[in-house]
C-alpha cells in the first residue's frame, strides 16, 4: 500500500467526522435561534460566493454566551458539575486506594485473577451498572429493607434521586479507572524500601505516609484525572440516580437540545464545557509525559 493512502484514509475520516463537527458546533453556538428547521440562523450559503461569506460572518455574535451568563441555571450547573466531580473523585480515591493496595500486596499467583475481577465490570454495560443501583437505593429498596431490618433506621431513607445517589453511582462505575493506575504504581514499588524505613525507626503508618504514598503519586494523579474528566460531563448517572434538583452540565445540554430544541444555546453550553475540560486534560497529559520520562 502506498504510504500516502495509509495516512490519508484515517486522516480524512477524522477530519470529516471529528474536526468538522466541532467547527459546526462552534459556528452554531455563534448563531441565532430560528423557528424553521434546522432551528438556527444564519445558514452558510455557498451559492452567494464571497459576499455571502461576509454576510455570514457579520451575522455571528456572542449572544448565546452572554445568555449563559445571564441565566443562573448555567453557571450553577457548571459549578455543581465541578463540585460533584471533585467530591466523587476524592471518594473514589478513598475507596479505590485500599483495594489497589491490597491487590499489590497479595500473593503473586492471585494477582492476575484479582486484576481480571477489577476489569470485568468494565466490560459490562455502563447503563446496567448504574441501573443496578436503582433497585438498591429506592425508598422500598434493598438497602432500606436491610437498614430497617437491623433496626438502624425506623423510616426509610431517601437516597435515590438525590446527590448522594449520584456520588455512589460515580464511585461505583469509575472505580476500575482509579484502581488500575494506582495498582500499576504500587506493584512496581520495591518493598525493601519499607523495611529500610522501619529499620530506621519509622512507625508502620509513617512509613506508609512517607514512602508508599509518594511512590504511588503518579498512579494517584492519573487515577484522579481518569475519574474527574469523564465525571464532569456525565449524563446517565445524574439522569437515572439524581433528582430533579441535581444539576449537571451533561444533563442540561441534553435537555436544552432534546426538550427545548435550542440548538445554538446547546452548542454554546458544549463549547464552554470543552473550555473547562482543557485545563485538566492538559495537566493529565503533562503528568503522563513526566511519568514516561521518569521511567525511560
Amino acid at each position: 500500500m502506498r504510504r500516502w493512502v495509509l495516512i490519508a484514509l484515517p486522516y480524512a475520516w477524522l477530519l470529516a467526522l471529528f474536526l468538522a463537527p466541532f467547527i459546526i458546533v462552534l459556528k452554531i453556538s455563534l448563531s441565532d435561534i430560528a423557528l424553521a428547521r434546522p432551528p438556527y440562523m444564519p445558514q452558510l450559503d455557498f451559492g452567494a460566493g464571497l459576499a455571502g461569506l461576509r454576510e455570514f460572518f457579520a451575522a455571528l455574535d456572542f449572544e448565546n454566551f452572554w445568555f449563559l451568563t445571564t441565566d443562573d441555571l448555567y453557571w450553577k450547573a457548571y459549578l455543581s458539575s465541578l463540585q460533584i466531580a471533585v467530591v466523587s473523585t476524592f471518594l473514589t480515591l478513598l475507596v479505590g486506594y485500599p483495594i489497589a493496595y491490597g491487590m499489590a500486596r497479595s500473593a503473586q499467583e492471585w494477582r492476575p485473577t484479582l486484576l481480571m475481577l477489577v476489569i470485568l465490570p468494565f466490560w459490562t454495560s455502563f447503563l446496567i451498572r448504574v441501573y443496578a443501583w436503582m433497585g438498591i437505593l429506592s425508598t422500598e429498596g434493598l438497602l432500606n429493607q436491610f437498614l430497617i431490618g437491623l433496626g438502624l433506621v425506623s423510616d426509610p431513607l431517601t437516597i435515590l434521586n438525590t446527590n448522594t445517589a449520584v456520588y455512589i453511582g460515580i464511585v461505583y462505575t469509575y472505580l476500575p479507572f482509579m484502581i488500575l493506575p494506582i495498582y500499576a504504581a504500587l506493584e512496581k514499588m520495591d518493598e525493601s524500601l519499607l523495611e529500610a524505613a522501619e529499620d530506621l525507626g519509622c512507625s508502620k503508618f509513617s512509613a506508609f505516609w512517607l514512602v508508599t504514598i509518594p511512590l504511588s503519586r503518579n498512579g494517584i494523579i492519573a487515577g484522579c484525572f481518569l475519574v474527574f474528566i469523564p465525571a464532569i460531563g456525565e449524563f446517565v448517572i445524574p439522569s437515572l440516580l439524581g433528582g430533579s434538583d441535581t444539576l449537571m452540565i451533561g444533563k442540561v445540554l441534553w435537555e436544552e437540545f432534546f426538550s427545548n430544541r435550542d440548538w445554538p444555546v446547546a452548542s454554546a453550553v458544549a463549547v464552554v464545557l470543552l473550555l473547562i475540560l482543557i485545563v485538566p486534560i492538559v495537566l493529565f497529559q503533562r503528568n503522563e509525559q513526566k511519568a514516561r520520562e521518569a521511567e525511560g
Binding site: 466490560w123 454495560s125 446496567i128
Partner: protein, 272 residues
C-alpha cells in the same frame, strides 16, 4: 512467605463485594416471580419468557448487534492504519493534528461528541438511522483501537520487518506476513473493545439515531427512566452472562497463548 494482613484481606473483601454485589442482586431479582421488583415472591423465569416475546427488544437487539459489528470492523481497519501511521510513518506535515485527533475523542464528553456529529449529519442532509450510528461509533472507537494497537507496535522488534523487506517482500507483503501476525492479538482485543463500546453506548447513539433505528441501550434507558422493571433485570442478566463468559474465555485463551509462546521460545533457545 508473606505475612497475612487483616487490613489487606478486609479491604479486598469489602472492595470486591462493593463491585459485585449490585450485579449479583440484579441477577437474583431477575428470577423474582413478583412484578414488584423489591419484594421476593419465589423463583420464576417468567420475565425471560416475556422478554423473548417482546418484539421491540428483539428488534433493538438486532439493530445494536448490526451497528456494533460494522462499526467495530471499520474501526479496527482504520484504527490499525492510524496506529501504523503514528508509530511508523515518521514525520509528515499535519502529524501533530493527526495525533491530537486520535487522542481527543478518548477524553471528550459523550454529549459533545454526540451533539457535534448530529449537527454534522443534519448539515450535510444525511438521513439518520443505522448508517449514522455506525459512522459515529466508528469515529470514536477507532481511536481506542489505535491506542491499543500502537502500544503493541512500539514494543515489537522492527528489524523483523526490515529483514522481510531485504528478502524481497513488498511493503504490503511485509505487513501482511510479518507485522500483522505479530500484532494480531492487539488487533483482536481492539476489535473486542470497539464492539463492546458500541454495544454499551447510549448517549452518542441517542444523538445520532433517527426514528428508524432504536438500539438496545436507548430502549433500556427509556424503560428504566421511570423506575426498575423486571424485564430489564432479565435482559441485564443475559448481557452480564455473555460478557462474563466472553472475558473468562478470552483470558484463558491468552493465557494458553502465552504458555505456548514461552515453550516455543525455549525450544528456539535450545536449537541455537
Amino acid at each position: 512467605m508473606r505475612r497475612f494482613s487483616w487490613f489487606n484481606a478486609t479491604s479486598l473483601t469489602l472492595g470486591f463485594a462493593f463491585l459485585y454485589l449490585p450485579m449479583v442482586i440484579l441477577v437474583i431479582y431477575s428470577f423474582n416471580a413478583s412484578k414488584l421488583v423489591t419484594v421476593w415472591a419465589g423463583f420464576s423465569t417468567r420475565w425471560y419468557g416475556e422478554l423473548i416475546r417482546n418484539e421491540e427488544f428483539l428488534d433493538a437487539a438486532w439493530v445494536t448487534l448490526k451497528v456494533a459489528f460494522f462499526s467495530s470492523t471499520l474501526a479496527t481497519i482504520l484504527g490499525t492504519m492510524a496506529a501504523y501511521v503514528l508509530v511508523r510513518a515518521g514525520r509528515f506535515s499535519g502529524r501533530t493534528l493527526f495525533s491530537g485527533m486520535i487522542y481527543a475523542p478518548l477524553v471528550m464528553p459523550e454529549v459533545i461528541t454526540g451533539l457535534s456529529l448530529l449537527l454534522l449529519f443534519i448539515g450535510i442532509g444525511l438521513d439518520r438511522g443505522v448508517l449514522t450510528i455506525v459512522l459515529a461509533h466508528t469515529t470514536f472507537s477507532m481511536c481506542y483501537v489505535s491506542v491499543v494497537v500502537s502500544s503493541r507496535l512500539t514494543s515489537f522488534d522492527r528489524s523483523l520487518e526490515e529483514a522481510a523487506l531485504d528478502l524481497g517482500c513488498s511493503p504490503f507483503d511485509a505487513f501482511r506476513l510479518v507485522t500483522l501476525p505479530i500484532i494480531a492479538p492487539a488487533v483482536i482485543s481492539g476489535w473486542l473493545l470497539a464492539f463492546t463500546l458500541s454495544l454499551d453506548d447510549l448517549v452518542i447513539a441517542s444523538f445520532t439515531t433517527g426514528p428508524s433505528a432504536t438500539t438496545l441501550p436507548i430502549k433500556i434507558f427509556s424503560a428504566v427512566r421511570l423506575g426498575v422493571s423486571p424485564e430489564i433485570n432479565a435482559l441485564s442478566t443475559i448481557m452480564i452472562g455473555i460478557v462474563t463468559v466472553g472475558v473468562i474465555t478470552a483470558s484463558l485463551i491468552s493465557k494458553r497463548a502465552a504458555v505456548a509462546q514461552a515453550r516455543d521460545e525455549q525450544a528456539a533457545a535450545r536449537t541455537t
